[in-house]
Amino acid sequence: MARTSLSRRGFIAASLLAGGGVAFEFALPLGRASAQGMDATPITAFVRILPDNRVVIGGKNAEIGQGAKTMLPMLIAEELDVAWDNVTVEQTDADATIYGAQSAGGSRTTGREWLPMRQAGAAARAMLLAAAAQEWGVPVSTLTSTQGRVLHEASGRAAPYATFAAGAASQTAPDPVRLTLKDPSAFRIVGTRVMGVDTPAITQGKPLFGIDVDRPGMLHAVLETCPAVGGRFVSANLDEIRAMPGIEHVFVIEGDGQAESLLDGVAILSKSWWSADQARLALQVEWDTRAVEGYSTQGYAKCAGEALDRGPEKTVLDKGDVATALEGARQRVTARYAVPILAHGTLEPQNTTALFTGDAIEIWSPTQNPESGRALVAAALGLEKEAIRIHFTRIGGGFGRRLMGDYMVQAAAIAAKVPGVPVKLLYSRQDEFRRDFFRAGAWHELEAGIDAAGRLTAFRDHYVTFGVDAEPSRGAEVAAGIVPANLLAHARIEQSLIATNLPTGWLRAPRSNSLGFVLLSFLDEVAQAGGRDLPALLLELLGEEARTIPGSGPREADFQTGRARGVIEKVLAMADWAGRDGLESGRGKGFGFYFSHAGYFAVVVEAQVTGGEVQVPRVWAAGDVGSQIVNPLNAEQQVRGAVIEGLGQALAGQEITQADGAVEQANFDTHPFMRMDAVPEIEVAFVPSDNGPTGLGEPALPPVVGALVNAVFAATGRRIRKLPLREEDLV
């Protein structure tokens, strides 16, 4: 396809395809995206109209199962005014200079792309109409379109878009901000239930994923790294491994000591991944683990307990006068909570295929964050960014693991040792647990003051997590804008840090997935002490009158109390909260509300506790993610997936433990995820509001764990202050 270069301000150009179709390219100069607090970046996307009037739309973002590959082209097709059945979606390459942001993270895609993608479609349509006006000699204002055809009502003329391909190619690009976009009431695609564009191919076993990449002459690689993250390579029986059948290359990868880019390791290359992995069984490596072998689960708990006893190292938020407010309170509630380290467990293990050619490298990768990977590869190999070509593949689960680019660097470093030979690096499941970027562990001491009327008046949270030099490690920090701190006159958040050798990272709804449990369970305790239930306590804090509380940082969205109230009231009605006292013994309903990623979610969980066993028969979830659900078919799945993931974090027994610096879990038996037999009925409702649409991959998760433990409390009177839930906590 022909491609023109981009001007600084951005423009829209159309150029003829060799086959006679027309290609539109968009680099829209865009203002702030509609959602508050979201990054706004210039975007490009492709629309091609083929001679038979079929439309090919470029899906430009990483597809991890969140639906971006379907949803973004829906937005383009809507404003282009074509029939969805006539659209084919193609995955674009990863290239920020053409496509703008292509990452899948922070539930940002919907908010960021809602306007630009529609403008991309509207601009293409405007150019086609302009071409038709010229050809027919009529004013463009007299033309309309429907389903891929241009209409001139006065004369009754009509022709398919493809007729005007050549003419459209020579049109000047419209200024995107001047384009008239459809009124939502005229939407024919957006808001309808659209099947994922790859669904048929998935059900036929087509090679879509990174693991399926196959290049001529390709070798397969395994990379052995130290069981204790950060251990340095000393020596290994490399010659012995080299002599094994089917082994092509064995070499040492010298790391830079950074898990984010490259750790020391031994790479084994073969024509068969299985052979390489088998050879690994005979590999004997001596590692120097002196710097990292002291870290253990027990050690963390001890250090964290001591830190809580000692008092905070740093104050993150200090609002009003917490000390005085607590002193003057009628009642004080104090509790300590603990949250375990978790792994991501994407079902497709990390992998990347790379072909190094001396001064350039071509990469095929299932990455959520291609540009970060590009920068890391450039630094590790000493290449210019332009010398790195990245092809996107479909991604077998992200959950934040693939925001890191370590596996891309590892593959590139291995490929650089065998120039001209494509190499696919694939992790074993054990590698996944060795080289994850874990959800950080956290320990909290919380305190609340309650006034004579039972109202929450002051709140303090001293949390301990991993980090160094007053900087919490990735994904471990607590934002100052959390509920209830943002709603109270007196609130303080304090921090202390402990050391670890484990790299931490972003797990679906980072920070919030951990805080949702701690805060909602503690607030349930506070509500009980004040003689009310948790939703009543929250509604009281929110107040009757809707107001907007600014986010606590540039990346934090503002908090709108009216939207919070809307979803809380909705879920209470859905779950018959008022009638919960009628439940049989051993059953209870628990409530949770959380605001994250610009989305508002309230959840009620019903738990049945029998002996030491917790079952969840039903969950209700109500969310407000703005005015429009782009693809309800996918949206419901996102919420259900988040609900089940949240339940699994508490109920499935997930916990990463460590001894001598090494993670003790190696597969799904010891770090289990929810299975079919534990899945509840989940009722999902969206509460539309007059706000720009925002993302759905994450915000439904954080309230789930809190609601679950609150349900367990309602059923048993037992307060769960440490995850995962264990049988001994219940009997």
Binding site: T199, G205, S272, S428, R640, G641, M674
Partner: protein, 155 residues
């Protein structure tokens, strides 16, 4: 060592280490990458295929053991009279999220429906609990199995 078996209806003879798991034989030697690697230890079900009609974890099945047997993979699932309805139901309900587990889910569900044409929820739970969906598309997997059962019954 030469091993003879049938793959998606075609007789094949392969010279391959009999200890090599069927999963990697399919992916690397036969060129059928639809069958997925998830755990390599029989714990996730992503690698499920049919061996003589029985749902089998191909990651822990040495290819030497299937000498003379008949293997069906996701690539041929739609050609099976029941599998055809399963695949159609998977599309109609848009079951996949990331999609990575779905080859295994479809193969396992098809084997279930061959054995129990009208499964109860308990039957589905028991048969499908070995198939992990990290994205948790379980609600739709359950619904799609029931949908396929209905369609297969009418057919």
């Amino acid at each position: 060592m030469a091993i003879r078996f049938t793959i998606n209806g075609d007789e094949t003879t392969l010279d391959v280490d009999p200890a090599k798991p069927l999963l990697w034989t399919l992916r690397e030697d036969i060129g059928l990458p639809g069958t997925k690697f998830g755990c390599g230890a029989g714990l996730c079900g992503a690698c499920t295929v049919h061996v003589d009609g029985v749902a089998t974890r191909s990651c822990i099945t040495p290819v030497g053991l299937i000498e003379g047997q008949s293997v069906t993979t996701i690539e041929a699932a739609g050609a099976d009279p029941v599998g055809h309805h399963v695949v159609a139901a998977w599309c109609a309900l848009d079951v996949p999220q990331c999609g990575y587990c779905q080859a295994g889910q479809i193969m396992n569900a098809t084997a279930l429906l061959h054995e129990v044409p009208e499964p109860s929820d308990a039957d589905i739970d028991a048969a499908m609990a070995g198939n992990l969906c990290r994205c948790a598309s379980y609600t739709r997997i359950r619904a799609a199995i029931k949908d396929a059962a209905q369609k297969a019954k009418k057919a």
